[in-house]
């Protein structure tokens, strides 16, 4: 099998994030989470509000510093990074897809996509071909010179996706990317992301509570009260997306039912 040769790109080891010091009111947003992400994997993280999934994503994106544990991207320890190294990591190693796009509204689509290059002083020349490919694939070539206000929600998110991918990051982090989209646009976006994962071997880690979006993943981690409580793996190619969706819904129903033992 092909997967045998793939290696871990991201390793999360006993990751914890506590709020509120050592008092009784301490909140354990993450409580000893451990998992790995393989190169070229499309991993979903699901959980209800307050389960800790966004905290997890923010720790990996180095936006917040964990209380304990380790995060390693290809062996590089992220939790210890500072200053320039940290900025390089955020800009070059990971691509981030936000729920509400976070496009700069006074920049055109093209300028938004090229922003990471500008930030890291990289010539656009090298990425011109990359921009063209991404624009064609994400079907945003005709909105490249428009401002975000002139784009639809779906176009905005696809422009944001192009921005996240322009630097060929080792890991794409997506925080509820379909959260602000209607179902049709959400479907288009997920197909594109899934296609990039399949064709370009892009590693994607996506946080979502949309079962439909999650059904595009190959593996899903369920998280509650800061702990991973379950894992689903799609049996490709035997299992169809619809069948996988059905399994996801089942797990969600059990979790929503408040059962302590989900399985």
């Amino acid at each position: 099998m092909e997967n045998i040769r793939t290696e871990n790109i991201l390793e999360i080891d006993f990751l914890s994030k506590y709020y509120g010091g050592k008092s009784q009111n301490q909140t354990k947003a993450l409580d000893g989470v451990t998992f790995q992400v393989l190169e070229g994997e499309f991993l979903g993280i699901m959980g209800s509000s307050g389960s800790g999934k966004s905290t997890l994503l923010n720790c990996i994106a180095a936006v917040i510093r964990p209380t304990a544990g380790k995060i390693a991207l290809r062996g590089a320890q992220i939790q210890d990074m500072e200053g320039k190294e940290l900025a390089e990591y955020r800009g070059k190693k990971i691509g981030y897809l936000f729920q509400n796009f976070e496009l700069l509204d006074n920049l055109t689509g093209r300028e938004n996509i090229l922003l990471p290059l500008s930030l890291h002083g990289i010539s656009e020349k090298e990425s011109r071909e990359r921009l063209r490919q991404l624009a064609d694939y994400l079907e945003i070539a005709d909105v490249l010179d428009k401002f975000p206000a002139q784009m639809s929600g779906g176009q905005k998110q696809r422009v944001a996706a192009a921005r996240a991918l322009i630097m060929k990051p080792e890991l794409v982090l997506a925080d509820e990317p379909t959260g602000a989209l209607d179902s049709r646009n959400a479907k288009v976006l997920m197909e594109k992301l899934s296609g990039l994962n399949r064709d370009e071997n892009a590693t994607i880690l996506m946080v979502t509570h949309d079962s439909g979006a999650a059904s595009y993943c190959r593996r899903i981690l369920f998280i509650r009260d800061g702990r991973i409580i379950h894992e689903l793996r799609r049996d490709t190619p035997e299992e169809t997306q619809q069948m996988f969706h059905g399994r996801i819904l089942k797990v969600m129903a059990q979790m929503g039912g408040g059962s302590e033992n989900v399985l």
Binding site: A87, R90, L104, L107, L114, P116, S118
Partner: protein, 705 residues
């Protein structure tokens, strides 16, 4: 509700909020301080040494100036009201979410109003507590420096502190502050909670086609060129309606220019795109600090230009006005060379008989190193005294010269010189002797020509000297006389007791004959060394004046002459420089506050940049570039416009003779421009520091959460 139940909490909130306001909006607080200083300085003008001194000499003119002070005060009030209103509105807008939260907590609206009022008041009081001592200090320093510069140190420094000025400063400041506050807080308190809680709208403005902006830019440039052309060419100054057209063209041009600037910004942003597309990757890497976020910077600027082109245009006009005021003030002050050609200290009029005896009786004559009589009279040998003198040879010689402005004036002036006054040679020679000039030698049948320095200039004197060198003949009461020597221009008296546009100097005998012994005698005096010793001349004259006043002798002293010129110099330079400072402060505060508030509104964008991997240094450099451009656009445009503006102003305001020295005056203004750039630099640094502090807050808390 906790505020209402606990007054202590309310006080704490007021204190903490005001402290935070000052910290976050230090530029606004600084402009409050400057307002206070400006008020105090204009109000304490009458207590300044120079003004106290001039009050004695030129009380009329000084009183007129003092009568204008309330006008200046009022004008300053209005300008600063808008400044405070503008800067305050940004502050309120930024805090609207916070106000919404207070209301959500259940704070009643009147209480919110009270909270804002208390915050505002505590800020105002602190500004007054800091501002007034600083204002007094600056006023005192100005007083001392001005006194020193004009050579009055001697008169004895008096404190310029004025309680009245302090009171009016406080009243005026609190008045505009409260007026601005009432309008602003009224707006905030009336709003719905929901709209307060809403984050500031992104404010996406409809874009017009690029051609519209380009057209606007071009129309603006054309209008401005036309306006400056009209003003510098002198057309605008001839009639009030033409001035109106010029003004309208200028204002319209400015508005169009700034509206159209969006085109330039868009162009630069797109060029930034292309530049990075075509650049060699290795070089770009090296220059990365330069290239980083260039497109973002120009888009930010473009947005500001779209949203605030009006405010930018106003800033531009204010800086332009400041530059013109400053330049003109300094140029006029420098041009007024009031200490030149000073010979006489005193002149006693002939109204009192025997001045010399009176002086001697009082023992005052010993103070003078020289006392001599200047005899001046009319021609009394003929009934037709209006036409007693003709100098056709001179007029013909003049008419034969190539056409020039000086010739025209001479032809006109001398055409009326048919009844000249006569001056006796002995008195005039004593004057020349005192001035260290060679004395005049006249034979019988010869006459010297005298013209008061106010009625001639170098060019006219040169032309006349050329004619006089041929010793032309003239006719005085039917007798031929030769006009000889050079034109005499040493003032006959110390100030303005006597100014003659044309007179003849005659040997004493002829003088006695033509005047028939009926003439005026002016007694001129020069103070001796003993009187001046240990003091400056001005102090000596002041002391002497007191003694003479006691003696009741009518006199005029050099102090009056100097005082008048000093007054115009001080008044014009003082007021223009004062206005320049006010304009400059307002413009810079508007630009600075606008940038900082715009930056805070764009806080979300900066956060996105951080998440995309921008480090603190990159953001600071980007902000610094934006600040440079943001200040640079109006300042540089104003500096360019001021070169024309200055010329136009001087063309319109100065007399013809002075216009000829305009290039000289513009040269004098250049150091002022440099000084203004220094002021801009300081503001830019201040804004950069504030901006860097804000950007740091975007880097840190998210990471720590």
């Amino acid at each position: 509700m906790f505020y209402e139940k606990s007054p202590g909490m309310f006080r704490t909130l007021v204190r903490r909020n005001s402290r935070r306001n000052r910290k976050e909006n230090s530029l606004f607080f600084l402009s409050l301080l400057i307002s206070i200083i400006a008020f105090y300085i204009v109000l304490s003008l009458s207590s300044q040494d120079v003004m106290l001194f001039l009050q004695k000499m030129e009380s009329d003119a000084v009183n007129k100036l003092m009568a204008m002070i309330p006008l200046f005060y009022g004008m300053t009030l209005i300008i600063l009201f808008f400044l405070i209103y503008y800067a305050g509105s940004f502050q309120m807008e930024r805090r609207s979410h916070e106000f919404g939260m207070y209301l959500m907590f259940g704070l009643r609206r009147p209480k919110l109003f009270l909270l804002l009022l208390a915050e505002d008041f505590s800020g105002s009081v602190l500004a007054l507590v800091i501002g007034i001592p600083v204002a007094v200090l600056i006023s005192e320093l100005t007083s001392l420096v001005t006194a020193k510069v004009v050579g009055l140190g001697i008169i004895g420094h008096q404190s310029s502190f004025s309680l009245r000025a302090v009171l009016w400063t406080a009243v005026g400041f609190l008045l505009i502050k409260s007026a601005a506050f009432l309008v602003l807080s009224g707006k905030i308190v009336r709003q719905e909670v929901g709209s307060l809680l809403l984050d500031t709208p992104k404010g996406v403005k409809k874009q017009k086609p690029a051609a519209v902006y380009l057209l606007s830019l071009l129309v603006g440039l054309v209008c401005l060129t036309a306006a400056f052309g009209m003003a510098a060419g002198g057309i605008s100054w001839s009639q009030i309606d033409k001035m109106g057209y010029t003004l309208a063209l200028g204002l319209l041009g400015t508005a169009f220019l700034f509206y159209g600037l969006r085109f330039a910004m868009d162009f630069l942003a797109r060029r930034g795109n292309r530049a990075s597309l075509s650049a060699d990757p290795r070089r770009v890497k090296e220059d990365c600090s330069f290239q980083n976020l260039q497109v973002f910077d120009f888009r930010q600027l473009e947005e500001t230009v779209i949203h605030h082109s009006g405010a930018m245009a106003v800033s531009f006009l204010l800086i332009l006005a400041a530059l013109c005021c400053f330049g003109s003030g300094v140029a006029i002050a420098r041009d007024n060379n009031w200490s030149k050609d000073h010979v006489l200290d005193y002149t006693f009029s002939d109204e009192a008989e025997n001045e010399k005896t009176v002086l001697a009786d009082r023992g005052l004559d010993t103070y003078f190193s020289s006392l001599f009589e200047m005899k001046v009279g009319h021609i009394r040998t003929t009934e037709d005294y209006e036409h007693a003198f003709q100098m056709e040879t001179v007029m013909d010689a003049l008419a034969g010269l190539p056409e020039s402005y000086a010739r025209e004036i001479l032809l006109n002036n001398l055409g009326y010189a048919t009844a000249p006054r006569l001056i006796s040679l002995t008195g005039y020679n004593m004057l020349l002797d005192a001035a260290g000039l060679p004395v005049l030698k006249l034979e019988k049948g010869e006459a010297g020509v005298y013209i008061d320095p106010e009625f001639t200039d170098d060019e006219r004197t040169r032309i006349l000297n050329e004619i006089l060198s041929k010793e032309p003949e003239a006719v005085l009461d039917g007798t031929a006389i030769r006009l000889t020597g050079e034109v005499q221009t040493t003032a006959l008296v110390t100030d303005r007791m006597l100014t003659l546009s044309f007179a003849l100097i005659l040997p004493d005998e002829q003088f006695e004959y033509y005047t028939q012994g009926d003439y005026s005698v002016y007694l001129n005096g020069i103070l001796g060394n003993e009187a001046v010793e240990g003091k400056s001349l001005l102090q000596a004259i002041s002391a002497m004046n007191q003694k003479l006043d006691e003696a009741g002798l009518p006199y005029e002293s050099y102090l009056q002459n100097m005082g008048r010129q000093l007054f115009y110099t001080v008044a014009s330079s003082y007021l223009t420089i004062y206005l320049a400072i006010i304009f400059l402060v307002v413009a810079n505060t508007v630009i600075g506050v606008q940038f900082l508030m715009g930056q805070q509104k764009a806080g979300r964008r900066y956060r996105t940049l951080v998440r995309l991997g921008a480090d603190y240094g990159t953001l600071c450099r980007s902000a610094a570039r934006q600040i440079n451009w943001y200040f640079g656009i109006p300042v540089v445009l104003a500096a360019i416009a001021s070169l024309f503006g200055e010329r136009a102003l001087l063309t319109g305001l100065l007399s013809f003779e002075m216009r000829e020295s305009i290039p000289e005056m513009i040269r004098l203004s250049v150091p002022m421009l440099l000084l203004l750039f220094a002021v801009e630099y300081l503001y830019i640094m201040l804004v950069r520091r504030t901006s860097a502090r804000y950007l740091l807050t975007l880097m840190e808390p998210e990471r720590e959460e």
